[in-house]
């Protein structure tokens, strides 16, 4: 059996620049950045005090689930997949999602149930935490809770996959969805990623390891870059084996492991290079018109990605354009790659290439054909999306405009 093609039928998102993908497009094209001082909680003395929070998104319960449901609804509606009685399509759900987190107040209450001292008191916790358990459903913080709920909502009977792979979770979920369609395991896939990490513990944890911007600016590939800024949001995509009215094909996916270091990318960019090349080979192309880079605004990662891009495309690279959405929306962690795919999709659909917000002084180590200031308009027939994770898990996706 030859592998089936995979087409993009609908996309949706909730971002800090809009409560739908449709609302987010114009500010992204204008080079806006949603990065602001954090006021959701007290960040005094934190290593990084800015983020890209979604402030006017009202919800109850787990934030990841609420964001993913809203983005899925937009994508599903846009896809308008037709189901007729004679051809029951098998739907799969593929989510990039990490574990949810109890609110700070709940964690605080749990520590108080455990005695509130420096050491955990099991004798107290075994009794006092029972009351807390009765008021919260821990299963909703499972990494798979988002997937499971979406499976119910969309009647999915195919695979229900949750990938928790740090910064390449969302892109890997899309790649897994595409593979499942190509192999005939499902016919339609709702896939993407969600990140809801504007949270005291996450900002403290990433801050302690020195990954966040002390300057409070997300400026991928800029000489001033000094770390990433946490963002949040969900980006969802509906894929199908049927072309129907689709304009964009997901033409190739490539994944690799650096097998190098938990925190640093392979300085030679070998893993990133192998992922990109695998995706291009799968798509049967050797150059693209646009690259939505991982571009986190961390000194080493951006330089390594730029080097890997130059190695993969050679001089062809300078006939394309490269940008990173993280200047505008920060780093969504598990949702990042899926958001990148939406940016590339927009480039293919409308010829709008979003700029890298806050990139004003490109680093010489990041010599790339950047999109600066505002959006560029040009015909885009092919695009590459990169997502590279902590721990060296790499994923690249190639999109192509249907002939």
């Amino acid at each position: 059996m030859s592998a089936r093609p995979v087409f993009v039928h609908g996309v949706g998102a909730v971002t800090a620049l809009g409560l739908s993908w449709r609302e987010s497009i114009a500010p992204l094209a204008a080079g806006a950045s949603a990065i602001v001082p954090v006021t959701e909680f007290d960040v005094a003395h934190f290593p990084c005090t800015v983020a890209a929070p979604i402030r006017d998104f009202k919800h109850q319960g787990d934030r990841r689930i609420a964001l993913a449901c809203a983005a899925s609804e937009e994508a599903w509606t846009a896809a308008a997949i037709a189901f007729d009685d004679s051809q029951q399509k098998k739907i799969g759900i593929f989510m990039g999602a990490e574990s949810g987190r109890a609110p700070f107040a709940t964690v605080h209450a749990l520590t108080r149930a455990a005695g509130g001292k420096a050491a955990f008191d099991h004798a107290k916790f075994g009794k006092q935490a029972r009351v807390l358990a009765e008021h919260c459903d821990a299963s909703q913080t499972s990494p798979a809770a988002v997937t499971s709920l979406l499976a119910k909502r969309y009647g999915a009977t195919g695979p229900a996959v949750t990938i928790s792979l740090a910064c390449s979770s969302g892109a890997s979920a899309v790649a897994e969805a595409a593979r499942s369609i190509r192999l005939g395991i499902c016919d339609v896939a709702l896939c993407g990623g969600v990140g809801a990490d504007v949270d005291p513990l996450m900002l403290a944890g990433f801050g302690r390891i020195g990954a966040l911007s002390g300057r409070g600016i997300s400026c991928p590939f800029d000489a001033r870059r000094d770390g990433f800024v946490v963002g949040e949001g969900a980006a969802m995509i509906v894929l199908s084996a049927d072309r129907g009215t689709a304009v964009v094909e997901l033409a190739g996916e490539g994944r690799s492991l650096d097998a190098y270091n938990l925190t640093a990318p392979d300085p030679d960019g070998d893993g990133a290079t192998r992922a990109m090349r695998a995706a291009l080979v799968a798509a049967k192309i050797d150059a693209v018109d646009y690259v939505q880079a991982h571009g986190t605004s961390t000194p080493l990662n951006d330089a390594v990605e730029a080097m890997a891009l130059r190695r993969v495309f050679g001089t062809h690279l300078y006939k394309s354009h490269v940008s990173s959405v993280k200047g505008a929306l920060g780093h969504w962690i598990a949702g990042a790659g899926a958001l990148g795919l939406l940016c590339a999709h927009e480039a293919l659909m409308t010829g709008t290439l979003f700029p890298t917000a806050n990139l004003t002084n490109p680093d010489r180590d990041c010599d790339l054909p950047h999109v600066l200031g505002g959006a560029i308009k040009k015909t885009v027939n092919t695009a590459l999306v990169n997502a590279f994770a902590f721990g060296g898990a790499n994923c690249s996706l190639v999109l192509r405009r249907c002939a």
Binding site: A133, P143, T147, L165, R182, G205, S256, L257, G391
Partner: protein, 392 residues
């Protein structure tokens, strides 16, 4: 309907509440032993559930213990052992697929950081978040064991960490897809999980899922008197290749499926039946999920019987080891393959009188002459996994 693809198992390893030796653990299973005992991980006297099936041994401390806690270290150990057992060298064509239940709080780090906190988070940094270890984030990274295994084993093909109580089944199914697609030639699949964590015990007990009995009085799954399961923990690894590829013996053959349906607790029977539709053909031997809730157990038996017939034999690896979360399908795969090889099926540990219902719950070790078996595992919220093991 498209049949689920099947691949060969070339290597394996595990850490279970009965130990690490596959031969020894299989003997324990066949003898009907249970690993349930008073919780030895911490003093659980005040918890509603004070029994557990825990891994007795501690992992070997390596330089990775800076980043990994106990279960992550076990995951690394079984990945290393299974790949070594297979004799397959690491390369760009070897993939790595991990499944784990989800992040657990490391309370020994959290307590000092929260000792002086206020519930509103005012001044949180100076009140203690500044005390978090610089590696705190790496210790809580969902893919930390996966990344460190790739680094140590020099495995550079594709791979991912899958999350949720059925993540072992997800990882197995994804690895099989990767092999089928030709993206890799070999897959190392690891499942690891522990329910023996303070907040997990409290939560599961509050939802009525855990046994509240003492060690001597825990009722077995599928017994009319069952009142909840024993929390367990395990790590297990399989090395997979396409059938007929590579060198070395093929220990068994495996197929896998996963599903979810958003139910608050156990997945619906429709979800389980949907998973079995592609796996159950001709199977007359089942390793059940065994949640030890009479209504749930009976519903599971009814669903299984629709595919296997009412006379199919029912065993339950988790009756002996406790519920194992994301590790369950991999542990079941090894346990079933060994029992099929020995042509002897283990009883449901502790079961004296099964509740009425379809299937034949085994109360003693039973000779078999079949070459295939099914296994079901379940988790919350609404998560399911299924595997099929064939010996030929």
């Amino acid at each position: 309907m498209r049949p689920a693809p099947q691949v060969a198992i070339k290597g394996w390893a595990w850490r279970t509440p009965f130990g690490a030796s596959i031969e020894h653990v299989t003997r324990q299973l066949l003898a009907g032993e249970r690993a349930v005992r008073s919780n030895t991980r911490f003093d659980a006297a005040s918890y509603l559930c004070s029994v557990a099936s825990s891994i007795v041994e501690e992992p070997t401390l390596t330089r990775q213990h800076r980043f990994l806690r106990r279960m992550g270290l076990f995951a690394l150990e079984v990945a290393r052992e299974a790949l070594h057992y297979s004799g397959i060298p690491a390369s760009d064509r070897v993939g790595l697929f991990f499944g784990y239940g989800g992040l657990r709080a490391h309370w020994d780090d959290m307590m000092p950081a929260f000792e002086h906190q206020q519930s509103d988070g005012d001044g949180a940094w100076k009140r203690g978040l500044n005390l978090l270890h610089p590696y705190w984030m790496l210790q809580h990274l969902s893919n930390n064991a996966h990344a460190l295994a790739a680094e140590e084993l020099r495995v550079r093909g594709e791979g991912a960490t899958f999350g949720g109580a059925n993540a072992g089944a997800q990882a197995l199914a994804a690895a099989i897809r990767a092999l089928e697609a030709g993206a890799i030639d070999t897959a190392v699949v690891v499942g690891y999980d522990s329910f023996i964590e303070p907040e997990t015990l409290v939560d599961l007990a509050a939802r009525g899922m855990l046994t509240l009995q003492t060690e001597a009085n825990v009722a077995a799954p599928y017994a009319q008197t069952a009142q909840g399961f024993v929390p367990g923990e395990a790590a297990a690894a399989l090395v997979l290749q396409r059938i007929g590829s590579g060198d070395g013996r093929e220990l068994a053959y495996v197929q896998a499926a996963d599903g979810a349906d958003g139910e608050a607790a156990a997945p619906s029977l429709n979800t389980i039946m949907n998973l079995l539709a592609n796996l159950a053909q001709g199977a007359t031997l089942i390793d059940g999920a065994g949640w030890a809730q009479p209504a749930q157990d009976n519903a599971e038996r009814s669903a299984l019987a629709k595919f296997t017939g009412e006379e199919a034999m029912l065993c339950c690896t988790m009756s002996a080891m406790g519920q194992l979360g994301a590790a369950a399908p991999l542990v079941q795969a090894i346990a079933l393959a060994e029992q099929l090889r020995l042509q002897m099926l283990a009883p449901i540990a502790g079961l004296q009188q099964a509740a009425d219902g379809p299937l034949r719950p085994l109360t003693s070790a039973t000779p078999i002459n079949t070459r295939s078996a099914l296994a079901i595992s379940m988790g919350t919220p609404g998560l399911a996994g299924a595997i099929r093991i064939d010996m030929s």
